[in-house]
Structure formats: structure tokens, C-alpha cells
């Protein structure tokens, strides 16, 4: 019964915006793209126990590469290696190291100027018709949800979780944790990179703000609001995007208020850093 309700509400959330005006459709497209980012983040956090606060790096780098020259997108997997190398700092310091790195990228992106374009204003990106962009976002969301679910519940996912729970025990039964970690980072960052391209296509523009704390903390906040389950990413994402866009005229940068409250509550909640819930 619960599954039917979940499926119906997700389907409704996916279908409803198609019947609304341009503004709502744009919001929904953005929320869907960010829901995919949240799924990619949640996969890394739940399966490997690494809560990245710098998922805006693969997201932003691929958006930038797509805007500058789409043929450069082959470079975006390097961001997975970057985040993987930070994972060697350990689970406690990893979130904050990735956050620092994303803020550094944010500042550096202001200085990316190519052929008189870029800087604070950013780059123009190839864009799609909004109806098409929305449909594409919905399809990519469903595909990433199914793929993540499949990977998490496969034998490979089980091995990754074994590494998360006890790396030494996993080694003792003959597993090599490093390839498993690299796979999980690549998978998660790959999804985040696709989201970056999607974001650039929806808005037709990429600015240094793609590295801002709004994007780097978004998956964490949306996952916490949604209850850290794959299917509820879309609810958390819609809640954050909707509230921040509608209330920003009254309270400037309203999303940061949501972020502050969620992060402060998360630090006190038992759910934080406990990565053993079922999908």
C-alpha cells in the first residue's frame, strides 16, 4: 500500500508541472535536476558512508565544461578522483574538506575568462525548449533513480556496504576496498555531472554560483528533509526549491535559512552519519 502511495505521489509530482505555466515548469525542471543531484549524493552517503558537502564540484565542473565546449566533458570524471582523494582524510573530515574545496572552486570560477567571456557573469550554454528540458529532466530522474536502486541492491552494492561497515573485515574476507570506493565515487560523481549538464541546458547559462553553498549543501539539506530515502529525494528537492523561490521576495536568500535550520537540526539528530537504512 505504501509503495502504491509513493509511486502515485512521485508520478503526480512528475506529471503535474507539465500542465502549468512557464515559471512553474522552470521551477520543476530545476527541482528535478537537483533531485538527481540528491540521489547521486545519497548513493555515496548511504552506501559508502561518505557525506560529501562538495557535490557541487562535479556538478559545476561539468556545467562549465558543457558551456565552454561540450567536447571537453570527457574531463569531468577527474572530479571523481578529486573527491576520492579527499576521502583518504577519513569520514569525519571528508565532508568539511569537500566543502572547503567547493568554496575554493566558487572563488576560482570568478576568474575563469575565455575569449572575453566568463568571469562573474559566467558563460552562455546551449539550451533546450523548456517542455523538452522538463521531459528530459523527468526521464533522467527516473533512470537515475532506477539505476541507483539497482546498483545499491546488487552484489556490488552489498560489497560497497560491507566496506562502509568495516573495511578491515571486508579485507579479511578477500575484498579489495579501493576499486569499490573508486566505482562508487565515479558512479555518484557521474550522476552529479549529468545533473550539471542538465542544469546548464535548462537555464542556458552557467555562472560561478554553480559552485556556491546553495548547490554544495543542497543534496544534504534535501536528503535530510526527505528522510534520507531515494524516493523521497524528489519531495525534499521540491520543498527546498519551491520554498526558496516563492519566499525569497519576502526574505532575501530564504534557502539559506532552510539550510541553517536543517544543518543545525541534523547535527543534533540521530539520523546523521548513520548509513544503514533500507532503500
Amino acid at each position: 500500500m505504501a509503495n502504491v502511495v509513493i509511486f502515485t505521489s512521485t508520478l503526480l509530482l512528475l506529471l503535474m508541472p507539465a500542465f502549468f505555466d512557464y515559471y512553474i515548469k522552470l521551477l520543476a525542471s530545476s527541482a528535478l535536476a537537483l533531485a538527481i543531484l540528491t540521489i547521486s549524493w545519497l548513493h555515496l552517503e548511504r552506501d559508502l558512508g561518505m557525506a560529501s558537502l562538495g557535490h557541487s564540484i562535479p556538478f559545476g565542473v561539468s556545467a562549465y565544461l558543457f558551456a565552454i565546449n561540450p567536447s571537453l566533458l570527457f574531463l569531468s570524471p577527474l572530479t571523481a578522483l578529486l573527491l576520492y582523494s579527499l576521502s583518504m582524510l577519513g569520514r569525519t573530515l571528508f565532508p568539511f574538506a569537500t566543502f572547503f574545496l567547493s568554496v575554493t572552486f566558487w572563488y576560482l570560477a570568478h576568474h575563469v575568462v575565455l575569449g572575453g567571456r566568463g568571469g562573474e557573469e559566467g558563460f552562455e550554454a546551449p539550451s533546450l525548449d523548456l517542455n523538452l528540458a522538463y521531459t528530459l529532466s523527468a526521464v533522467v530522474f527516473l533512470l537515475s533513480y532506477l539505476l541507483t536502486w539497482k546498483v545499491s541492491n546488487s552484489g556490488l552494492g552489498l560489497k560497497v556496504r560491507a566496506v562502509r561497515d568495516d573495511e578491515i573485515a571486508a579485507k579479511a574476507i578477500g575484498m579489495n576496498p579501493e576499486p569499490l570506493k573508486i566505482f562508487t565515487f565515479t558512479f555518484s560523481c557521474g550522476l552529479a555531472s549529468i545533473t550539471g549538464v542538465l542544469h546548464a541546458t535548462i537555464f542556458g547559462h552557467v555562472s560561478p554560483d554553480v559552485f556556491s553553498p546553495y548547490f554544495s549543501l543542497f543534496p544534504f539539506v534535501a536528503a535530510m528533509i526527505g528522510g534520507r530515502r531515494l524516493w523521497s529525494c524528489i519531495l525534499g528537492s521540491y520543498a527546498v526549491v519551491g520554498l526558496s523561490w516563492f519566499l525569497s521576495p519576502y526574505v532575501p536568500g530564504f534557502h539559506y535559512l532552510i539550510y541553517a535550520i536543517t544543518i543545525i537540526l541534523a547535527s543534533r539528530a540521530q539520523a546523521y552519519a548513520r548509513s544503514n537504512r533500507a532503500v
Binding site: T92, L93, P95, F100, Y107, P252, Y256, A260, S267
Partner: protein, 232 residues
């Protein structure tokens, strides 16, 4: 000119790095609110130059009370939430993204200086010198700090009030950071997010110094001087 764009920032970043290092080693928290506290100092200096240390001390006390008993991960996460809350409070209170802070120009040794920057340099030099004195003197306080850094449980067995040590570290580091922000941001156009860059630069200095273990506190200034010289 060289003094203002190279030496002054080196001392100020060294002080901020010392605050980051103290918070991490003594209070077991990567204090991410320090960047926002630095910015808050700038905003509060608009009302009174003396307000910033008091405001900083209050934020430090709040952080201590709210993160009591938390592990490093949770306490750091809380400090991130606090940092964003401070930023948002500034955005809501001032309703504008950018604010220009006033400053005063003085002439010293045939060169023009911003008075507030000179004062920030003096405050940070005093802070660094007093901490260096504390480090080199080999007092009981230093010994207590070392034991707290090594192991909290052992420190408590030895009868050290670890909560008190933690509170002092968080209050002093926040007060100093806020005071430096109030002085060093004078004459600049500031926004609520301006403190992040200073925090990141200080964290880089602190990380390099931390690699030298026991000599970390002493080497904060040379590392800062080196990095400022490299980036200048």
C-alpha cells in the same frame, strides 16, 4: 606599501589560523563559523568599534553551549549551520548585498596607512606574541592544553576541567576573529559571504602548521608569512 599588502595580512591570517588550530586541537571542532564571525565583526563595527569582540565572544559561548558533548563531526556540522545562520541574519538585517565600511587614513613612516588595518595588525601581533610567550614559558596552562589536545578522557582523570578549557578556547578565538574582522574589513565593500575566503586561507595555513605537530603554534606565523609572500 609592502607593509600593508603583505605584512599586515600575514599577521592577521596567522592569528585566524591560530584560532582555527586551537579550536581543532583543543576544542575538537573545525570551527566553520569563524568565517562568518569575521564578517560579523565587520558589520558590527559599523555601530561601535568595541562591539565586535563582545559579539564574537557571545557567538563563541553559544557555539560552546550548543555543541557540548558532541563529537568532532557533529560539532563541525553545527558550526557550519551557525555560519550560514549568521550570514542569513546579516542579509535579512541589512537588506542589501554590499555595504561600504568607513576607514581613517594615517601617515606613518612616510607612507599612507588605514588606521583600522594598523590596529588589526597590532591586535594580531599582540595575540600571537602572548600565545608564543604562553607556549615557550612552559607553564601549567600549557601542560593542561597539551593533555586536553592529546586525550580528553585522560585530561579529565588528571582533574582538568575540559569543558572550561573548551569554553575559553571557543570564546577567545571567536572574540579575536570578530575583533580582527571589525578592524581589517574597514575601508572595504563587504557582503555576508566575504569571510569564507579568509577562513579557507587560514585553514590552509593551519593545516600546514598542524603537520609540524608540537611546533604548530610556533610555526603559524612563518607559514603565514611564506604563503602571503607566495600569493602576493
Amino acid at each position: 606599501m609592502t607593509v600593508t599588502i603583505y605584512l599586515f595580512p600575514a599577521f592577521i591570517y596567522a592569528s585566524l589560523a591560530l584560532c582555527v588550530l586551537l579550536s581543532y586541537r583543543g576544542a575538537k571542532i573545525v570551527n566553520l563559523s569563524l568565517g562568518s564571525v569575521f564578517t560579523l565583526g565587520g558589520y558590527s563595527s559599523m555601530f561601535s568599534p568595541l562591539a565586535s569582540p563582545a559579539v564574537g565572544a557571545l557567538i563563541g559561548l553559544l557555539l560552546h553551549v550548543c555543541t557540548k558533548g558532541m563529537d568532532t563531526g557533529r560539532a563541525t556540522l553545527f558550526s557550519l549551520g551557525l555560519a550560514i545562520a549568521i550570514e542569513e541574519a546579516l542579509r535579512i538585517s541589512f537588506r542589501v548585498e554590499y555595504v561600504l565600511l568607513r576607514s581613517h587614513i594615517i601617515h606613518l613612516f612616510e607612507s599612507k596607512l588605514v588606521l583600522e588595518h594598523f590596529l588589526a595588525f597590532l591586535v594580531s601581533a599582540t595575540f600571537l606574541a602572548s600565545f608564543l610567550f604562553f607556549e615557550l614559558r612552559g607553564s601549567l596552562g600549557k601542560l593542561k592544553l597539551r593533555v586536553v589536545e592529546e586525550d580528553l578522557e585522560i585530561a579529565e582523570i588528571y582533574g582538568i576541567d575540559t569543558e572550561r578549557v573548551r569554553a575559553i578556547i571557543l570564546v577567545v578565538s571567536s572574540a579575536i576573529t570578530c575583533c580582527l574582522g571589525g578592524l581589517y574589513l574597514s575601508g572595504r565593500v563587504i557582503s555576508p559571504t566575504i569571510g569564507w575566503l579568509s577562513l579557507i586561507f587560514s585553514c590552509i595555513i593551519a593545516t600546514i602548521a598542524h603537520a609540524f605537530r608540537d611546533k604548530a603554534y610556533i610555526l603559524v606565523l612563518p607559514v603565514s608569512l611564506g604563503l602571503c609572500w607566495l600569493t602576493w
